[in-house]
């Protein structure tokens, strides 16, 4: 296993003709086809596209949760596609913070304990309480997921991702299950983290209204990148509306 310093902390993520084909019984389903994409450190990127366009596949590939069928994915000068399962685990542990549409909190653990699930994995984590404070949930630390609203659950999930001090925050439809006010809060949190901590954030969404909170918007359709556009004037999360 390469030492963690081998993952260049200022590295750029780079996809080279990354292709992922799922085999469903007798047929091959191409989820992502020959994607080329470069992401700079500290960038806030949204990936948009309709359901089934390959957004989640792309996110899972750069997050080390999946491997491309062909092509390469570079994190700095490290080729993720050639890493062993153990090394990929290390990569996810040290570099990546995940946020999911349905939060994926462990239902039998409190908000604070759910953050601890992440902090116990790494050497120099944020204090779990502090992480909850960052997302504005300090007063809900002792609540179980079932006692939190959807927005609160998602913020707890962000705290969990954050607490590992990741370089890369990957959010898969983080507002997909939320109402507008809750969604605004979550997006604002992500914007704030990107700006104040120079955290690279990749957010995927099928909701076009959200796309412009980022500095760059990548559009996917049928597994192919059809547009990559720089957005010079990202809108403030508080003004998002749908």
């Amino acid at each position: 296993m390469p030492p963690m310093t081998a993952f260049n902390t200022a590295a750029v993520l780079r996809l080279e003709r990354a292709t992922r084909i799922f085999r469903m019984g007798e047929i091959d389903v191409p989820a992502l086809v020959e994607a080329d994409l470069t992401i700079a450190a500290g960038e806030f990127l949204t990936v948009v596209g309709p359901s089934g366009s390959g957004k989640s596949t792309l996110l899972n590939l750069v997050g080390g949760s999946d491997r491309p069928t062909s092509g390469r994915i570079w994190h700095g000068d490290c080729d993720l596609s050639s890493l062993s399962d153990n090394d990929l685990t290390e990569y996810r542990r040290a570099i990546v913070g995940f946020i999911f549409q349905f939060y994926n909190l462990v239902p039998t653990l409190t908000a604070l304990e759910n953050v601890q699930v992440a902090t116990e994995l790494v050497d120099n984590p944020l204090d779990p309480g502090e992480a909850l404070d960052v997302v504005g949930l300090a007063d809900r630390a002792g609540h179980f997921p079932a006692q939190l609203s959807g927005g609160e659950q998602q913020r707890a999930a962000i705290a969990r991702a954050l607490a590992k001090r990741p370089q890369l925050l990957l959010a898969d439809e983080p507002t997909g299950a939320l109402d507008l006010p809750a969604a605004r809060k979550v997006l604002a949190t992500l914007q704030r983290l990107n700006r104040s901590q120079q955290l690279t954030v990749i957010l995927i969404t099928h909701n076009p209204a959200i796309a412009n909170v980022a500095g760059r918007v990548v559009r996917l359709a049928s597994g192919r990148i059809v547009e990559s556009r720089v957005n010079d004037n990202p809108i403030a999360a508080e003004t998002v509306a749908w």
Binding site: T57, N60, D66, R92, L109, E120
Partner: protein, 792 residues
């Protein structure tokens, strides 16, 4: 404690109901293993200690009467370590205030060192014989207890035609009568009607006219001589043949030892089979449950992996789940097993009398039990988690794709299919799509049913045996053994006894039966040609009239001799001229107690060449006359043995009811819990998998009972399949048990009465219904509004 540990504890507490059902099943499996195996070892160790300390003999030789001087030659035979001789007589004894005369076996024993001889006796109460008095007796403890006899009480015996009164100076037990039966033919000790009486050696010989003579020789073998036992016994037989060797009994055929050994062997078999069945079912159920648990945590596993947890740490986390279940199950099993062993020994103590039981904990059994329990639990979990772990985190986080859909084969018959409602459709589809789960439920039901059936059928078989032996074959009310062989005159005397409606002689001829290399010393019972008080029955139930020539053999005896109908064998009487003649097997009959051999009395007389004596008489007595007859028997100088058909029948029936109800109860409970646990488990898994479906039906307005009806239909389908499978399974098991208990002492009839099958089905149905009730409660409790929100 890490967060994951906390998660583990909460997950465990959260699914406590389901886990409890698994823990119960595991505990029953390991508990029955630990309990039965411990009980078996305790019995074995207790027996070994008892036999050693009280010098249990290796062989017994019964003779008519042999001078002690004749024994020197035997004592010098190589292989003989210690040789003792004594006088043993069956007697009739009277207790004050008791109408019924009782049967006793008088054994002469050295006055001072009765615990030092072969078959030494262990004094339970009293101080033993005094130096100066002769008319003293030490009674078997069980008999004394049954009659509330105390030290100093007196009993009356008829010895050598004289009434003698004895003072009780002690009560005792002996390794010869751990299981206190008279001999083969008795099934269960009857301490109320049979007791052993130890009388001072010198006095017994004097009173019984056995000065410098004996009628029983007991011996022990030198170390290393055990292999040559047959040769040695053959030599002894020849050396004593002129004194009339009635019986030579090596230890393996001694009745008490045989019953005890059969029990220990039987227990060893049961201790393997039963727990194996229980644990096998537990493993299946656990496997299903753990796979489901892991699958239900699929998203969590995916998330943990996405967060950077390694496969190993996720596996370890989930394995601890199985580990905890295994350990808790194992501990509960150890406790249950220890309790079971204790209860079983308590029960054995009612039948098998030991000075003490060598109680020990067997750490290896506890460890094996624990290891089995943990191994099953962990293996089940590992399989479940592995299914999920082998997925990449991205896949694992996605919900499991819907189960394979498609039509089941019944849908190819649209007419039939459309008759059934949609709830039956759901039930049928679930049952056929979740094949492994269905199969597990079917197997669990089938095994439970088969075990319950087997327990009840075994009980019923013994009731049948009692009815067969004591109603269908034997009809005499009272049998009296006669001390000296008497001419047919004895018969006429007995006919004259008060209350006797009808009497028949039994003429016993002790002889060797030989067929090739197989030989047996048996008493051939000579019956008159028009006998009515014994009707031997063939296997097909038809009564056999004793033929004018040839022998009628019990099936077991025929098997031991290796003869079939029409074969001929050699017959040599042990007394008189001892000439060998060839006789034909005229008929083979079915008996379940001991072994019998019958022949026509005239035929016997002819082949022996002398007219035969009467050994005992069988009497038919009308019930109101019985007390009068009893009083008359007490006055009979010649009577030495007494057996009363209804007593023998009653003791077996009452003892069976008492003990079998306990063991059947345990078996039914254990097996029932398995059926119950498996049903509850399946249903709870089903509810967990289908919260959304159930919630939707609730929203639509279905009542909990109607929804439970779907699960009920599923349970009924597996239940029915289980019952169908249970029939051949139970039948097979019953035959196995019958084969295991097929001994010279008794055989278990294989009979299946519809009522037993009915009881079994009703019992299993009760357990399954109980499980359904739990399911209904769960559905009532279900928060269906929350259930609607569960993501797909």
């Amino acid at each position: 404690m890490t967060v994951l540990h906390r998660k583990l504890i909460r997950d465990l507490l959260g699914s406590i109901g389901m886990l409890l059902s698994v823990v119960i099943i595991i505990a029953i499996g390991t508990g029955s293993f630990i309990g039965m195996a411990s009980a078996q070892r305790i019995l074995e160790a207790s027996r070994a200690a008892y036999y050693r300390e009280y010098r249990f003999a290796d062989f017994w030789v019964d003779v008519k009467k042999a001078p002690i001087s004749a024994l020197d030659r035997i004592a010098r035979l190589s292989g003989v370590a210690v040789l003792d001789n004594r006088v043993v007589f069956d007697v009739i004894l009277n207790l004050e205030g008791q109408v019924r005369p009782l049967a006793g076996r008088l054994i002469s024993t050295p006055a001072g060192r009765f615990d030092r001889t072969l078959n030494g006796i262990h004094l339970v109460r009293g101080s033993g014989f005094s130096d100066d008095r002769n008319e003293e007796v030490i009674l078997s403890e069980a008999f004394a207890r049954a009659h509330h006899l105390r030290i100093g009480d007196r009993i009356e015996l008829i010895l050598n035609r004289k009434r003698e009164s004895f003072t009780i100076v002690g009560t005792a037990i002996s390794p010869e009568y751990v299981y206190m039966v008279r001999g083969p033919g008795d099934l269960i000790p009857d301490p109320v009607h049979f007791g052993v009486l130890y009388v001072k050696d010198s006095y017994a010989r004097e009173v019984l006219d056995f000065k410098d003579a004996c009628n029983q020789i007991v011996g022990s073998l030198a170390p290393g001589a055990r292999g040559d036992m047959d040769v040695l016994l053959g030599r002894i037989d020849r050396a004593l043949s002129s004194y009339g060797v009635l019986e030579i009994t090596p230890r393996q055929r001694q009745a008490s030892h045989r019953f005890l050994s059969d029990e220990i062997t039987g227990l060893a078999v049961t201790a393997t089979i039963m727990p194996a069945i229980f644990l096998g079912v537990a493993a299946l159920v656990l496997n299903i449950l753990m796979i489901r648990m892991a699958q239900r945590q699929r998203t969590t596993i995916g998330t943990l992996k996405a967060l950077g947890y390694s496969d190993r740490s996720v596996m370890v986390h989930f394995l601890s789940f199985g580990l905890v279940v295994g350990i808790v199950g194992g501990l509960a099993g150890a406790a249950l097993g220890t309790l079971l062993a204790y209860v079983m020994i308590e029960m054995y103590a009612e039948f098998f009398q030991f000075p003490r039981f060598v109680f020990r904990a067997y750490p290896d059994l506890l460890l094996i039990g624990m290891a089995i329990s943990v191994a099953f639990a962990v293996a089940g979990t590992a399989r479940g988690v592995w299914e999920v772990l082998k997925l990449r985190p991205a896949e694992a986080m996605r919900e499991k794709p819907p189960e394979r859909g498609g039509a089941i084969f019944l849908e190819r018959f649209p007419r039939l299919w459309h008759v059934m409602g949609f709830r039956t459709h759901i039930a049928l589809r679930t049952v056929f799509r979740n094949r492994t789960r269905t199969l597990t439920a079917v197997i669990a039901t089938a095994l439970s049913t088969a075990i319950i059936f087997m327990s009840m059928a075994t009980y019923d078989a013994f009731l049948y045996l009692v009815d067969y032996q004591f109603d269908k074959v034997a009809h005499s009310d009272v049998d009296i053994g006669l001390r000296d062989e008497k001419s047919v005159l004895a018969l006429f005397e007995s006919r004259a006894l008060p209350g006797v409606d009808y009497a028949e002689p039994l003429l016993g001829l002790r002889c060797d039966l030989r067929h090739g290399r197989n030989a047996r010393r048996m008493t051939i019972i000579g019956l008159s040609s028009r006998h009515r008080l014994i009707t031997p029955l063939r296997a097909d139930g038809k009564p056999v009239q004793i033929p004018g020539e040839g022998l009628v053999l019990s099936r077991k005896l025929a098997e031991l001799l290796g003869v079939r109908l029409g074969d001929s064998l050699e017959l040599t009487p042990v007394r008189g001229r001892r000439e060998t003649s060839r006789v034909r097997v005229a008929s083979i009959v079915e008996t379940f107690l001991g072994m019998d051999c019958y022949a026509d009395v005239r035929y016997l007389s002819r082949i022996v060449g002398e007219s035969l004596a009467v050994n005992s008489v069988q009497l038919a007595v009308s019930a109101p006359q019985v007390p009068v007859l009893y009083e008359a028997i007490k006055e009979l100088p010649n009577a030495q043995g007494l057996s009363v058909r209804t007593d023998a029948k009653d003791i077996i029936e009452t003892t069976l009811v008492e003990t079998s109800l306990f063991s059947i109860g345990v078996m039914v409970l254990f097996a029932g819990m398995i059926a119950f646990g498996s049903t509850v488990n399946n249903a709870l898994i089903e509810i967990g998998d289908r919260i959304r479906e159930i919630s939707t039906l609730r929203v639509l307005g279905y009542r909990p009972g109607q929804i439970a009806g779907i699960l009920f239909r599923e349970s009924m389908l597996t239940f029915m399949a289980g019952l169908a499978l249970a029939c051949p399974l139970g039948y097979g098991m019953l035959h196995l048990i019958a084969a295991a208990y097929d001994s010279e002492l008794y055989r278990m009839p294989v009979v299946i009465r519809p009522i037993v099958v009915l009881y079994t089905f009703v019992l299993v149905a009760l357990f399954v219904l109980l499980a359904q009730w739990i399911v209904l409660l769960q559905i009532r409790k279900l928060d269906w509004l929350q259930g609607m929100k569960v993501k797909e």
